[in-house]
Amino acid sequence: MSDLVLKNVSKVFNNNVTAVRDFNLEVQSGEFMVLVGPSGCGKSTTLAMIAGLEDLTSGEILIDGATVNTLPPKDRDIAMVFQNYALYPHMTVYDNMSFSLKLRHWEKSKIDKRVKEAADILEMSDYLDRFPKALSGGQRQRVALGRAIVRKPKVFLFDEPLSNLDAKMRTVMRLELKKLHDRLGATMVYVTHDQTEAMTLGDHICVMNDGELQQMDTPLEIYNNPKNIFVGSFIGSPQMNLIDGRLEADSDNYEFISELFSIKIKINKNTIGDDITRDVKAGIRPEHLFRKQQGENDSKITGRIAIIEPFGSETFIYVESQQQLVARVKADNTYSASDEIELWVKPEHINLFYADSGLAIFSK
């Protein structure tokens, strides 16, 4: 397996639209790297540049230490799985999978061995001689995967491969992909707009927005310590609650003050500098709003229940209190709309961000 490095990669299209801006990334050999972000953030363009389907405007891409910018896709030893599967409609599953090897003039017996191997791994030996149009979405996706596996490439690329599947199939295939990665130990770069896929599949996640890399970290780090408001809001469902307020200091003690509530927080002095009275936003994840006070430093927010969404094992409560908040609590039949409610929050669950730049203020 191989590592992949992107150095200062940029892409500007002919109409002066900058799709990707100064992108730097290191993917370790055997790692599963996810590129996630909203539509138009540049993740697919980045993937296309790695594949060689798009030219770079500037920067370098290296696979296994060798620069591949000038090479066409077929010489980069990469394989790609597409959102719409892109199976050759006039060829059988077997032919679809063996196409790339045939083009490389491999011996028939070697091709057969590889295809059968891949078919075994993906449990699709049964439909090798069927045509794509006779297959379901999930089966087609397997063929697309098989086509990539057969190549044993240095890097696997995935372009939103699960987006066209129905919800149930998506969960099944997500697991399959994870198992596949464990089994093959291959370097994989995966593009998606779905943050659940990102969190569950990636060894590391790159959150992208507007052509720029926002944060690259492990899923848990991104979840717990988002570097800016965008990352904090994008990852996590339902979305992180954001409350406007002010940060005030009194020697070593800091306090977040807002219309909804006030709370004393610990902040690392080095990260904040001298200008301390600033407009900030406090980010609180829905699952961190509790029904009961748990510690003496906790603060209370009061409001009125607007909507209740029961999910079975838990319930989302939408609360109106100067602004709308979402709380994620254990399922309980004691709530009804228009009830008054008290929500408690702990200081260590507050993510503070500068209101102007959106950057995080860290407490460590």
Partner: protein, 287 residues
């Protein structure tokens, strides 16, 4: 930047060159004709390969216009197109509508009834005798009858109708509209692209028709322009002009007639460009 192979670039150069030469042959014949029609004797009889007119001599046009029936031919052609095309488009759509609705009784037999006319024809003789018996011979109405409801066109429009969302029809039915109302006020307006395509086909068909004029018309005043062209160029009637316009080369006369016939149809050209590929796709021909 990604390097392209040499053979790929070579192919591009050769391909573009070949296609450009091909394009040149597409319009050179007309250019040649135009040049010829504007040339006086000295140049025209030289023959050869012209790219631009060496003289600007309208004598040939004068000669052609002096021939009786040219203007009547022109009028006949214009009238023919202006009247036949809209009527044809309308009836084609009218025929296609019931065929596109699933609830039309005997839909399948009716469709085969129409389709068969595309496959089998009685031939020139029975048709001629029929026109004779109905009184369509030497009658301008025969122009209207030609290709009024071509099965090919009906199929294109039918396919287009079938691609209109059924919910439109259902909503109208709920509102209490009759099938006539739905046809006129909903389907026809929505079908502008395919109807424009059919209109274009028919315009080209009617403008270019010459054989029906030749066979079915005995009065010279009822012949269309193409029939006139056919006589002058193919049947060599240009010779009658030689005595009046001494010194005018026959090529110029022929060429002038061609140009006169060609110019009006060129006005249709932009429509052809715009509608043709759209129309074929809309008519589902590739399916």
């Amino acid at each position: 930047m990604i390097k392209e192979s040499f053979s790929s670039r070579l192919f591009d150069v050769v391909n573009i060159l070949l296609l450009l030469i091909l394009s040149f042959t597409m319009f050179y014949p007309f250019l040649y004709c135009l040049v010829l029609s504007l040339s006086s004797e000295a140049y025209a009889s030289q023959g050869g390969f012209f790219l631009y007119p060496r003289s600007f001599d309208l004598t040939a046009y004068e000669a052609v216009f002096s021939k009786p029936h040219l203007l009547t031919g022109l009028m006949n052609s214009i009238l023919r197109v202006l009247i036949s095309v809209p009527i044809s488009v309308f009836f084609t759509a009218l025929c296609a509508y019931p065929l596109s609705r699933n609830e039309t009784p005997y839909r399948r037999p009716l469709f085969l009834f129409v389709l068969f006319t595309m496959l089998f024809s009685g031939g020139m003789v029975p048709i001629y005798l029929l026109y004779h018996n109905i009184g369509l011979l030497d009658n301008r109405l025969v122009y209207l009858v030609q290709g009024l409801m071509l099965a090919f066109n009906v199929i294109l429009v039918r396919n287009y109708f079938q691609n209109i969302p059924e919910s439109m029809h259902q909503a109208a039915m709920i509102d209490g509209a009759s099938e006539w109302y739905i046809f006129f006020r909903i389907y026809l307006p929505l079908s502008r692209p395919i109807l424009a395509t059919i209109a274009m086909f028919q315009t080209i068909f009617h403008w270019n028709a010459w054989f029906d004029a030749m066979i079915y018309m005995t009065s010279d005043t009822k012949v269309v322009l193409q029939g006139f062209l056919q006589r002058i160029v193919i049947q060599q009637e240009w010779q009658q002009l030689r005595d009046i316009y001494v010194g005018l080369p026959p090529e110029s006369i022929k060429a002038a007639t061609v140009i006169i016939t060609v110019v009006p149809i060129l006005f249709v050209f932009p429509f052809v460009l715009r509608h043709f590929s759209k129309g074929i796709m809309l008519g589902g021909l590739k399916e």
